[in-house]
Symmetry: C2
Subunit: 180 residues, 2 copies
């Protein structure tokens, strides 16, 4: 599928409500469980998406749109949320993420990006040259990937409870070794 | 995590709203896209979950709870929904799934299952002996696995649009060969 700003916003605007439906008021045995050391719980997923709003997607788009001499992005700290949110509740993170996302999308819409602007270059600190279009497409994929991760991590908490069903439930054996 | 009926119902009751948040009114380019031949789109996922309500989870629990001479489950046709829903809209499937799930959970709660009942046996046509507890745990994992699948399948539609980001977005390279 070719990138389209409207189709992308249609995904990005849903993510807070999708995570709220999956997670609001859920017990900590589901919310805080992980796939192993240094992997994310559902709680961590919401925190990581908040980090994306504050430090990644829109800030990087601004760097590209500035058309300045230095188009290199700052690094994306994948573990910023661990210290940032150590005293937070999941409910408060879900609310904060929804507010930040709404504000990000207000900015994205206000730019009224043209095709020429979507082709503008940036420089990823590890991946090298990228375009604004690729950054905005990655934002959509990143959201969906982390929704899938939250559901997968929760599913795995019952791996020992399903008995002989494991081979018929592939989500239980996805990402046995953490990836990225 | 050990199986708990309350914790399980807390997941099962969320799935219709989670899928509605992710999918209601979404364009067919997202809803109908797949990972390749004989794989499920997000539309198919909702149809498959409906099949589960009508032919799998509660019907199999009834077989176990009947304590009859034949505890063997009927097969679960993973592709029943393809013919059943060929003329349906996604909106109507989301509504139907929510109604069926509500009715399934009303039945499940009404049984007031004891620990002894959760240990009752059934016979899976391919996996052999199972317990009611394992069946009900598999139901929860099955829901979460298909939520993860819907998000993953949608994410993959932008695989060619993210440029160099592919290695940082593992959801794009999950299940390159369909599993189960």
């Amino acid at each position: 599928m070719q990138y389209s700003l409207d189709r992308s916003i249609d995904i990005l605007m849903r993510t807070p409500a999708t995570l709220r439906a999956l997670l609001h008021d859920i017990g900590s045995e589901w919310a805080r469980a992980t796939e192993g050391p240094s992997t994310f719980s559902a709680f961590d997923v919401v925190g990581h998406l908040i980090d994306g709003e504050e430090t990644d997607w829109i800030p990087r788009a601004r760097i590209i749109l500035s058309r300045g001499p230095n188009l290199r992005f700052g690094p994306y700290d994948r573990f910023r949320h661990w210290s940032r949110n150590s005293n937070r509740t999941l409910e408060s993170l879900l609310t904060e993420f929804a507010e930040l996302r709404q504000s990000s999308l207000t900015q994205l819409r206000a730019w009224n990006l043209t095709d020429a602007e979507l082709n503008l270059p940036g420089e990823h600190p590890r991946l090298g040259p990228v375009t604004l279009r690729q950054l905005l497409a990655a934002w959509v994929v990143h959201d969906l990937g982390h929704i899938a991760q939250a559901a997968r991590v929760m599913a795995k908490q019952y791996k020992s409870e399903v008995g002989p069903w494991v081979p018929f439930l592939p989500v239980l054996t996805d990402h046995e070794v953490p990836r990225s």
